[in-house]
């Protein structure tokens, strides 16, 4: 929504700028080597980048789309029926908020999104909205200057390929090689754009990289790629996503996120995902097949994933940490909420290689309506990972009796000194709890929100303050009408 508005303006700039004929740019549907070459050319990529893409593409051809090993029934995707490059799509222009779907506006209101932001998100053309967009652009520039002073690089992936080729060559594919899985191979061949973030040695990033990202992410399309490199002793907290409902015409999203944490570095990666889940029947929702992985490359590194997933028709996602350095730490905090006919299969992998490595997994699944919500996680302690520890807690909350919650923990231990704990609970929102709330004057909707937010508290507490408040509201909105 907002994406289109800003993208459109970026487009307009381009019309008068360096790149010509961008408006006519939508590739015919289908995927072959020519398409990959044309895409690379379009982006003015150097030869090595094209080679990377082609290699990935050729490998992808040898792979088979994964069978339904995940707990996710969905129709087969026709990869020849997708256009792999298109200029950001123009949305029908709306003159005022009156023309916007009132349901959408209600949601915005509940999320506490300002009127101007509402206009931007729903694609209303107004001078103010345009100003806001341009404001954002200037804000972006201000941020960039502050960051540059510290030597922090934060730019689009396309820019990084051109401006910092050595860094990209060194790190891209280090954690998620193009051969990793079907969707990772596809992404590596045809990724559209994304973000690159580099924190130099000893630098503590002075701000949450959020606002910037929201703008930066605009128009990057369905095959995003994010790469975060934290040098020795550095720290960064990175926020992805937006709590406002994001509608998108691309049904398949296959992104890659790679994180590399050097010695003593710490990376916090937080996601709030609220893509269009489809209608009540699940029609038209987004398929979110993401490969997210980080590596604690050297000693004492730390990577935390925190996610609140409420959107998409299908979510297939396992943010993972490879704990290579000694004493390194991996964390995964997740809330996954599914309603109506949504399906989620999400969890994490913690691969312990270094000595004294520690990992924590807290997963909170909430299923409502006819949805299915699965936790799938792997804890692997390799030989030589002495004194490694893992603690996993996987809780499921069911609302109503038509939904499902599943837990698939995989534990592989090759070192006897390891201590691995796994706890799992399944509960239902109790009639007793609801009645107790009602007896104190709290209505059903508020009561559910209260109980669910309480249930997710451990995870929500890990989010940056502002984001946590938004996430709380989002959970409440996503569950509306799910009981009673």
């Amino acid at each position: 929504m907002g994406n289109e508005v800003l993208a459109e303006h970026i487009n307009k700039d381009y019309e008068w700028g360096f790149i010509t004929d961008i408006d006519s740019d939508t590739f015919a549907k289908g995927l072959n080597e020519e398409v990959v070459r044309a895409l690379s050319k379009k982006k003015n990529e150097p030869e090595w980048m094209l080679e990377f893409r082609l290699k990935a593409y050729r490998h992808w051809l040898t792979m088979k789309e994964p069978d339904n090993w995940a707990h996710l029934p969905y129709p087969k995707i026709d990869f020849q029926n997708i256009s792999y490059y298109s200029a950001p799509k123009k949305k029908a222009e709306l003159k005022s908020l009156d023309e916007v779907d009132p349901e959408l506006l209600k949601t915005f209101e509940k999320l506490g999104i300002s009127l101007e932001e509402q206009k931007r998100l729903s694609g209303v053309q107004s001078n103010i909205a345009v100003d806001a967009v341009f404001d954002s652009v200037s804000v972006k520039t201000t941020f960039r200057e502050t960051l540059a002073e510290k030597g922090i690089i934060f730019c689009s992936f396309s820019e990084a390929v051109l401006e910092f080729p050595e860094l990209i060559k060194k790190y891209m594919g280090m954690v998620v090689p193009p051969t990793d899985n079907y969707y990772a191979a596809l992404n590596s061949a045809v990724f559209s754009d994304g973000s690159f973030c580099y924190i130099p040695k000893g630098v503590r990033c002075p701000m949450e990289l959020s606002t910037y990202f929201r703008i930066n992410a605009i128009g990057t399309g369905q095959f995003e790629r994010t790469l975060i490199v934290a040098e020795e002793g550095s720290y960064v907290s990175y926020l992805e996503g937006c709590t406002a409902p994001q509608r998108d015409e691309n049904q398949l999203h296959a992104a890659i996120v790679e994180i590399i944490a050097h010695k003593d570095a710490e990376v916090k990666y937080s996601t709030v995902q609220n893509w269009y889940p489809g209608d009540k029947e699940g029609k038209g929702g987004i398929y979110n097949f993401v490969t997210k992985r980080g590596i604690c490359l050297e000693d004492n590194a730390k990577i935390s994933w925190t996610q609140v997933e409420t959107g998409s028709a299908i979510t297939w996602k396992y943010p993972s940490v490879i704990l290579k350095g000694n004493n390194s730490v991996g964390e995964f905090y997740s809330v996954a909420l599914t309603n109506n006919k949504q399906e989620a299969d999400t969890g994490t992998k913690m691969i312990h290689i270094g000595k004294n490595t520690r990992s924590t997994i807290i997963s909170k699944g909430i299923s409502a309506g006819f949805s299915n919500n699965s936790y799938r996680g792997l804890v692997q302690i390799r030989k030589g990972a002495t004194n490694s520890r893992n603690f996993s807690q996987c809780d499921s909350l069911l609302m109503g009796d038509k939904c499902g919650a599943h837990t698939f923990p995989y534990i592989e231990i090759k070192d006897k000194s390891a201590i691995v704990e796994h706890e799992a609970t399944t509960s239902k929102i109790g009639e007793d709890q609801l009645f107790y709330c009602k007896q104190r004057g709290i209505d059903m909707e508020k009561a559910i929100a209260l109980i669910v937010n309480g249930y997710c508290k451990e995870v929500l507490n890990k989010l940056p303050m502002e984001f946590a408040v938004e996430a709380q509201k989002l959970l409440a909105v996503s569950l509306e009408g799910s009981v009673g």
Binding site: Y436, K438, Q439
Partner: protein
């Protein structure tokens, strides 16, 4: 305050209440006593609006309004409070946040603004003292990890904060030692005034030593079989429920 006329209610097709008649006026304290299974808790649940119970006959007027027509949350907002026999735990929701939500929902219903944070905090502090509730408990999750006595005191604390018109105490004395019992009773006595009323449901006479009722009703087989003053409770304590059972078995 509240008038109950010929109230019949059943759960899963089984009739539990078989024609309750009761009139409670502002400023009064009524005790409802009875043996196990007589319908004491059913009565409190039906009045509070629990959905598992089906009212098959009768009417209840609460401050001039038809109580049975109201949703459970609206009954609470109109000033009906139930101190639960088994207060539930709500993990992750702090007591204080829970109470604030409740207060503001009630205020919203009455067309009032949300309570200012400062006023709320001083209100909490004041009422905490009343029931000698540990300040730490107000910041913990609702009833989570509370001892039996703490849970009951927490109920009275919530009652004190919400200041209902009619409070029903459902076996609040069960599982309380004598000290906790006194604290609970002192709380109730301090809150008592000519504008509110209390219904104390209990199995034993013990609590009535501390909360002195104006009227005592004996519930048996879903009916009030005997009403009187506090002497009735003492009589009951002395003779036990067997006498009642013998006397009224044939009635039903």
């Amino acid at each position: 305050m509240i008038t109950i006329k010929n109230l019949h209610a059943s759960v899963e097709g089984k009739e539990i209440l078989r024609g309750i008649n009761l009139e409670i006026k502002a400023g009064e304290v009524h005790a409802i006593m009875g043996p196990n299974g007589s319908g004491k808790s059913t009565l409190s649940s039906v009045l509070a609006g629990r959905e598992d119970y089906e009212v098959t006959e009768g009417e209840v007027t609460f401050n001039g309004k038809d109580l049975l027509e109201m949703a459970a949350e609206d009954r609470a907002r109109e000033g009906l409070f139930l101190a639960f026999q088994y207060p539930v735990e709500i993990p992750g929701v702090s007591n204080i946040n829970f109470l604030k939500t409740a207060i503001n929902e009630i205020r919203h219903y009455k067309g009032q603004e949300a309570i200012p944070a400062k006023d709320f905090l001083s209100l909490v502090k004041e009422k905490q003292k009343l029931v000698e509730l540990d300040g730490k408990l107000t910041n913990r999750s609702v009833n989570e990890g509370f001892s039996g006595g703490e849970k009951k005191r927490n109920e009275i604390f919530q009652m004190a904060v919400l200041e209902p018109k009619l409070a029903i105490l459902d076996e609040t004395d069960s599982g309380l030692d004598i000290d906790a019992l006194k604290i609970v009773a002192n709380g109730v006595n301090a809150l008592k005034n000519e504008h509110n009323a209390f219904v104390v449901i209990t199995h034993y006479q013990r609590l009535l030593d501390y909360i002195v009722p104006d009227f005592v009703h004996i519930l048996y087989n879903g009916k009030i079989v005997k009403s009187g003053t506090k002497e009735l409770a003492m009589e009951l304590e002395a003779k036990g429920y067997d006498e009642i059972k013998k006397q009224f078995e044939t009635v039903t």
